[in-house]
């Protein structure tokens, strides 16, 4: 049995009180709860405070470039679909610099899990607006307030009929653990957008602010009803729904489409010299 402790103890370079600590804890619990050992999982992250998270976890890790965790994760998965791949990064990383990859990942339906630490701000670079920063929110870089409509990651994911779309909140940890587990269980691209207070730079969307608003979807909610999910995904105001917003069980995981992968990870495959010879013959 794997336990949370198996993922080690590190000293995160986060601010005291940061929501990232809760996510780290929940990730460990989710993995332990699913009995996944450190070497069975690969974390891929970008750059930002969120993207440091896997450094504080015993695991395989590729901590790449800002905005590029999804393509790396996709490549990793397509090289070895047997390895569990979790992409973990911030809102800026995934929805800002990496926006095009987010769209592509939704379309590809790669069987990986995406955990977005959504603090609605660029934390590591000291507090500029991220795509999810609210309208009129003032920052040093946007002293007159943000004048772009916030990006609604869940709405986009649902509009694209993504496989699994959920929202978690660092203040609702039990739910968060199970959302991460459900996401990992789901065969296809699974997004968990996690509301995470940034105590240093987001003084609007504080822990209290989220606590007042976040409410678990109740059992009557049917996440397979697309139209319903579409509206739900846009709810952002006095009440913010958490839980599984949408599931599309019909979607086929992407790796299944590659004949080359039917015989397992690429690293174990031999060079096909007969095929090379055959191709050469076709040029004769």
């Amino acid at each position: 049995m794997v336990s949370s402790e198996d993922f080690g103890q590190f000293e995160p370079a986060w601010c005291p009180g940061c929501g990232n600590f809760s996510i780290l804890k929940c990730v460990k619990e989710a993995l332990a709860g699913k009995d996944i050992a450190p070497h069975e999982v690969l974390f891929v992250s970008g750059i930002g405070q969120a993207a440091k998270a896997p450094h504080y976890l015993k695991c395989n890790l590729f901590n790449g470039l800002h905005g590029r965790s999804l393509p790396v994760a996709t490549g990793a998965h397509l090289a070895n679909p047997e390895l569990r791949v979790i992409a973990e990064s911030g809102d800026g990383c995934n929805y800002g610099e990496g926006g095009n990859h987010f769209l592509a990942a939704l379309r590809r339906n790669v069987n990986i899990t995406l955990l977005v630490h959504d603090n609605q701000i660029y934390g590591l670079t000291k507090g500029q607006a991220s795509p999810t920063t609210g309208l009129n929110h003032r920052t040093k870089a946007q002293p007159g307030g943000v004048k772009r409509e916030p990006f609604h990651p869940l709405a986009i994911a649902v509009a694209m009929k993504a496989a699994f779309v959920a929202r978690g909140f660092t203040g609702m940890q039990e739910q968060l653990v199970s959302l991460i587990q459900e996401a990992m269980n789901f065969p296809g691209f699974a997004l968990v957008d996690i509301l995470q207070p940034c105590v240093s730079f987001n003084h609007v969307n504080t822990l209290q602010w989220y606590k007042k608003r976040c409410a678990s979807l109740d059992d009557s909610y049917d996440p397979t009803d697309w139209e319903r999910a579409m509206s739900k995904s846009m709810e952002w105001g006095d009440s913010i729904p958490t839980g599984v917003i949408y599931k599309n069980e019909a979607a086929t995981p992407f790796a299944d489409h590659f004949p080359a992968l039917s015989s397992g990870p690429l690293m174990h495959q031999k060079r096909e010299m007969e095929v090379v010879a055959e191709i050469m013959e076709s040029y004769a």
Binding site: K58, G75, A76, E278, S282, A284
Partner: protein
């Protein structure tokens, strides 16, 4: 009029609009000529459009292998009037122009008007009909040309094949009824050869070296390499994925390689410009990365379907920060095959980015080459054993040669940690200045190994020539041919060719430069990028340069003319 050319060569040019099937005819002709024992080299001039405009496809062949595009045209098959107008002057005295019955011969005596519409019904087979005419003019064996058409079209519809074979036959028969005055070449007996394009050779070389992953975003002239791989994806066990953009392409390949794939990313200048951060990432995380950079003229969109060697400096310096890399620039089709494998091996061995620098001319041209010796290929480099299972695995362990043991995540119990930030030997973020210094030095130390494996430039000619022509990459052949033409009792001419352009090891060639009377470099760009690099690395200044930058491949004519103009030849 092109310059004189060897007696034992002929050039066929097929010109018309995009969409008239010129390329197909040219390719089949090239294959038929190769099978008939000739040495063949084709070039294509295509506009950046799908239909219309003016394109042409040239098949240059001889009893010996031509190494460079031809000048004078011997047979011009004109599918449009514009073709006649543009190329008429290039047709030699003994040459012949084939054109449609409904076209204007513009007073040319040596022309043949083919009554296409009387011979066949469907326009779509006009091109193959013309192929029949050409084949017969060139005295190709019926069986050979038939077999080529069969092999090329056989995989499509039965009916289509039949129609084409009939058109071929009609063309041949019609020609026989004409008894034109045209002198073909004597027979040639070269055996056991392939007819391949540069991109086919690159793709095959990559497969033979173990490539099993390719992520790409379409861009001329690199797309064909991916298309070649995807065509064999199932049988050869390759994952080929079209990415959402070039940034995704390079990052996917890095992710795949990190997890044990052998990856290749084909692109062209604009796409490569977008990959710079990814190249730097590969440098920092020490992930093998093979990029095939197929150059076309820039800046920006430039001339999308034409050729240039204008991205050498970008290849040398792309990506921020400092890290080792190698740049290999095959000089011909055999090297496209063998060096794409070498490029992959270097990437894997030195865990670094390696760029295979080709260009539109090289990847699109077709050539007859001896069968590749695939038996003799080395085994793919394998990452370290993956079963250590010990706590202390360090992905970036400090070693003598800078190369750390590379394990694959998921292959065993060891945890593999890689980071784009500066990192400790274990792969975790650090800002420690001592570790930083060690890591910079460790990474750069790999340059030593790369240097020790450099493909030495090839020198041909007398030891102390009056004139030394320096070339790199795809201009190998044209420079060799030019040197051959310039060389005489009274004027000793040699060539120095680089098929690897980074790193450079001056001991391998500096003396050659110093011993020559005068040194002239030949490049397909406007600023003499390689000459600049040579000077940076050796201090040796090549002040005389032949530079071409109009989008067309270097020819012997072009080089000779430039040399004459500047009083050098």
């Amino acid at each position: 009029m092109g310059s004189d050319k060897p007696q034992n060569r002929l050039q066929v040019r097929i010109g018309g609009e995009a969409g008239q099937g010129l390329e197909t005819v040219g390719q089949m002709l090239a294959k038929a000529l190769t099978r008939s024992g000739y040495g063949v080299l084709t070039t294509q001039s295509a506009m950046s459009r799908i239909r219309g405009g003016h394109n042409y496809f040239s098949v240059y062949f001889g009893t010996e292998q031509p190494l460079a595009p031809g000048g004078q045209v011997d047979l011009l098959a004109a599918f449009t009037q514009e073709t006649v107008e543009i190329h008429q002057d290039r047709v030699g005295e003994r040459g012949l122009v084939l054109l449609g019955e409904d076209m204007d011969t513009q007073g040319m005596e040596r022309s043949l008007q083919i009554p296409f519409s009387q011979l066949v019904e469907e326009k779509i087979v006009y091109n193959v009909l013309a192929l029949g005419v050409l084949a017969d003019l060139l005295k190709l064996d019926t069986e050979v040309i038939d077999s080529v058409v069969r092999d090329t079209l056989g995989s499509r519809h039965e009916e289509l094949l039949e129609n084409n074979l009939q058109a071929l036959q009609k063309g041949r028969e019609w020609l026989q009824s004409q008894s034109p005055d045209f002198q073909s070449l004597g027979t040639s007996e070269q055996k056991d050869r392939l007819t391949v394009s540069g991109s086919q050779a690159v793709a095959l070389g990559a497969l033979a070296a173990g490539v099993n992953f390719c992520s790409f975003y379409p861009m001329s002239p690199a797309t064909s390499i991916a298309i070649n791989l995807v065509g064999h994806a199932e049988s050869a066990g390759v994952v080929v994925e079209q990415a959402e953009d070039e940034i995704a392409a390079v990052n996917m390949a890095i992710g795949a390689t990190f997890c044990g794939a052998k990856s290749l990313v084909p692109t062209s200048g604009g796409g490569f410009a977008l990959m710079g951060e990814g190249v730097s990432l590969a440098g920092m995380t020490e992930t093998p990365l093979l990029i095939v950079l197929a150059q076309r003229p820039g800046p920006a969109t430039g001339l999308p379907t034409r050729t240039e060697q204008g991205d050498l400096e970008l290849a040398l310096h792309s990506g921020h920060g400092e890290f080792p890399r190698a740049i290999i620039a095959p000089g011909n089709h055999e090297e496209c095959f063998s060096l794409s494998g070498q490029a992959l091996r270097l990437a894997e061995r030195y865990q670094s980015p390696v760029i295979l620098l080709v260009d539109q001319y090289l990847v699109d041209s077709i050539r007859s080459v001896p069968r590749f010796d695939i038996e003799a290929l080395q085994d793919p480099v394998q990452p370290g054993s993956t079963e250590q299972g010990q706590e202390g695995y360090e992905r970036f362990a400090l070693t003598e040669d800078g190369i750390s043991p590379r394990l694959i995540p998921g292959a065993g119990q060891d945890l593999v940690v890689a980071d784009s930030d500066e990192h400790t030997p274990e792969g975790h973020i650090t800002e420690d200045r001592r570790v930083r210094t060690q890591m910079v030095e460790k990474r750069l130390k790999k340059m030593e190994g790369l240097r020790s494996e450099v493909i030495a430039p090839s020198y041909q000619g007398p030891d102390e020539p009056d004139l030394l022509l320096v070339s790199w990459g795809s201009s190998q052949g044209v420079v060799q041919e030019t040197a051959g033409m310039l060389h005489s009792e009274s004027r000793q001419v040699a060539t120095l060719h680089f098929s690897q352009v980074w790193p450079l090891v001056p001991e391998q060639f500096l003396e050659c430069l110093q011993r020559a009377g005068s040194v002239i470099s030949v490049e397909s760009n406007a600023t003499g990028q390689f000459a600049g690099l040579l000077r940076r690395e050796t201090g040796f200044e090549i002040s005389q340069q032949v530079l071409r930058y109009d989008g067309h491949p270097l020819t012997t004519d072009f080089i000779l003319k430039k040399l004459e103009d500047s009083g050098l030849a």
